[in-house]
């Protein structure tokens, strides 16, 4: 049943995307493609943070792994696109397993710090081995629409279709995973580790698995971003990207897959909008480019202090008002990630 519902929602979304991309202009198509890339990566992170209760500030670096893997395969081996995306996903999943094994013993701030260091350290590899990774300039990859769509098919529309298709497939897979035995085990282990272990769950293996899933998503997102922007450089995968992903997940609502879509919409559309407003109010463009960064910061703080359930939590509350009598949400209880009380010293 749930599988059918997820599939139906995905087909509906695909139709909407197809209509939108044909109606809108090339620039909007490109933005849709960018949003879809972020959806893939943010969805992976929201599963990691919201369901398994681990935090990662290094998913931007894992996106870089996927992007560089895709770039190298496209340039040197000329693999077909589907193969490249699958391989990039697999390679980042393996890196995620390595990170996960190291991270399985770490908690809270230690984990956040270690993954933050990963985000700082990994891009420096691209500069150190400039012969392979192209240094600061990065790699350039090309993408052409497949022949069966006709010669005049716009590139940006093909990019939007490709990325949205991948995003929808990812969302359906993740939604089913979250409802499955694995998803339930993640929630159990993050709510009460000891009880979960006593109930026979292998907590360490579950934590590593969550990292693998989120890394695979980050890698696919990175590979898609690479073929969309056609350039892969270390400057695109800084700590700021990792923090932007976290912002998207928190803002959308931790642990909620529709929330990942809301978050990605804001991540892509807000900076352009805010920068436009700032420059039109007389800020120089250099200063204006910092306004979105400050805005992310304010958003993160306000969401955590005022409504930790994020946008999807608000949407859910609205829906519930319009449909009285529905049972409490089958999704995560609102604000679960923010409301479990294992605090050592409660506030008096």
């Amino acid at each position: 049943m749930t599988l059918l519902r997820h599939l139906a929602a995905a087909v509906l979304a695909a139709v909407v995307v197809a209509i939108l991309t044909i109606q809108l202009n090339a620039f909007r198509d490109y933005q849709i493609a960018e949003i879809a890339c972020y959806v893939v990566a943010v969805a992976g992170l929201t599963v990691l943070v919201g369901l398994s209760g681990q935090i990662s500030l290094g998913n931007g670096a894992l996106m870089a792994v996927g992007a560089y893997a895709a770039g190298l395969l496209l340039i040197h081996l000329q693999w077909p696109l589907a193969g490249v995306l699958a391989a990039a996903t697999a390679i980042s999943a393996v890196s995620g397993a390595l990170v996960g094994v190291a991270a399985a013993r770490l908690r809270g701030p230690y984990l956040a710090g270690a993954t933050l260091l990963l985000a700082v350290a990994l891009p420096s590899l691209a500069i150190k081995y400039a012969g392979v990774f192209g240094g600061d300039q990065g790699l350039t990859v090309g993408l052409t629409p497949p022949a069966f769509l006709g010669a005049s098919f716009p590139l940006t529309r093909w990019q939007a279709w490709l990325t949205c298709a991948c995003a929808l497939i990812t969302l359906v897979l993740l939604a089913n995973l979250a409802r499955s035995r694995v998803g339930r085990s993640w929630r159990a282990a993050s709510d009460d580790e000891v009880a979960a272990a006593l109930a026979g769950l292998n907590v360490a293996r579950l934590r590593v698995l969550a990292f693998v899933v989120s890394a695979a998503c980050a890698g696919l997102g990175g590979a898609l971003l690479a073929v969309t922007t056609s350039i892969i450089s270390p400057g695109a995968f800084t700590v700021t990207l990792s923090i932007a992903l976290l912002t998207g997940a928190v803002l959308g609502g931790l642990g909620s897959l529709p929330g990942a879509i809301w978050g990605s919409l804001v991540l892509v559309l807000l900076p352009t909008y805010v920068t436009d407003v700032a420059t039109s109010h007389g800020l120089s463009s250099a200063a204006g480019s910092n306004v979105p960064v400050a805005a992310y910061g304010i958003v993160l703080i306000l969401v955590m202090l005022v409504f930790p359930e994020g946008i999807q939590g608000g949407v859910r509350r609205l829906l519930r008002q319009f449909t009285p009598g529905t049972p409490a949400s089958r999704d995560l209880p609102p604000g679960r990630a923010a409301a479990s009380e294992h605090q050592e010293e409660g506030s008096l």
Partner: protein
């Protein structure tokens, strides 16, 4: 062999910066069980304030004092306004809030001061010192950096040990409920802890900025290495943070000297991973196992 000595002495000076950042993190961690990811950003902001004061007054020491005062105020204000509401919440909320603070401060600095790299003056000469004809590999400013952090650490240790405020700080960190029953104003004590951490962070920012340039992200790399130092030492142990900073500073200076400076962040990551795998609570920590 001469190079080895130079790298060791230079590493001690850099290590003291990591130690200062680590110390400020430990102060906050002990008081509130929160890791302040905004510490580097706060230090960057106070260094910009110092630079503005120096440019207006022409006096290095006026800027130095302004940075420390600004750090003190910034720490207290941040604790009161945004940290207090998440202190009783799960750790994830505090992590997200301090990360939000970090990028808010960096964004604001970019808007106010612009993104370009600025040079920051050093307190003393930065030409290398010699004994006879042998170069030491450090300058008088490096000696000043080392001594300044050392004095700050000792003052802090003495303050914790011998003053009434220090006793209250230790009591509030040890058991907030019991101290509150005994009449300690725990809230005010936590604010004091954050203010002191802000001060130490500001000191680190002013001391390191002559050797790196000042720009909105300038403290990111320093912060993660300071964090690594604190974790190596154990987040609970101020002495451990200083020791961790020194170990890390010297080790990374060897890496930078013999293998190339691009590899420093990677070796930092490797060091952090190895320490956390072997001793998840740090080398010098006496903390009991994590409570569930």
């Amino acid at each position: 062999m001469a190079e080895f000595g130079e790298l060791t002495l230079g590493g001690i000076s850099v290590g003291m910066i990591y130690a200062a950042i680590g110390l400020s993190l430990v102060l906050i961690w002990r008081a509130t069980r929160i890791l302040n990811y905004a510490q580097g950003g706060m230090a960057m902001l106070t260094t910009y304030i110092a630079l503005t004061v120096i440019n207006h007054t022409g006096s290095y020491w006026a800027g130095f004092a302004a940075a420390l005062a600004a750090g003190l105020v910034l720490g207290a204000v941040i604790e009161r306004v945004v940290i207090r509401p998440v202190e009783s919440k799960p750790p994830l909320n505090a992590i997200v809030v301090t990360i939000g603070l970090l990028i808010l401060i960096e964004g604001l600095a970019g808007i106010i001061f612009g993104g370009q790299y600025r040079s920051f003056p050093a307190a003393f000469s930065i030409t290398g010192l010699h004994i006879g004809s042998a170069a030491l590999g450090i300058s008088s400013n490096d000696v000043f950096v080392t001594v300044a952090v050392l004095i700050a650490a000792l003052l802090l240790a003495a303050g914790f040990r011998y003053t009434r405020a220090g006793l209250r700080l230790r009591a509030a960190a040890f058991s907030p409920q019991v101290s509150r029953l005994l009449g300690v104003r725990v809230g005010r004590t936590l604010t004091l802890g954050w203010a002191l951490a802000g001060l130490i962070g500001a000191l680190a920012g002013v001391l390191i900025s002559p050797s790196i340039f000042l720009y909105p992200n300038s403290m990111d790399a320093i912060f993660v290495l300071g964090f690594t130092a604190a974790v190596i030492g154990g987040l609970d142990s101020p002495g451990g943070a200083v020791a961790g900073g020194l170990i890390l500073g010297v080790a990374l200076n060897y890496v930078s000297g013999y293998l190339g400076s691009d590899l420093v962040p990677l070796f930092g990551l490797a060091a952090l991973t190895v320490v956390l795998m072997l001793r998840p609570s740090g080398l010098f920590s006496t903390a009991p196992a994590r409570r569930v």
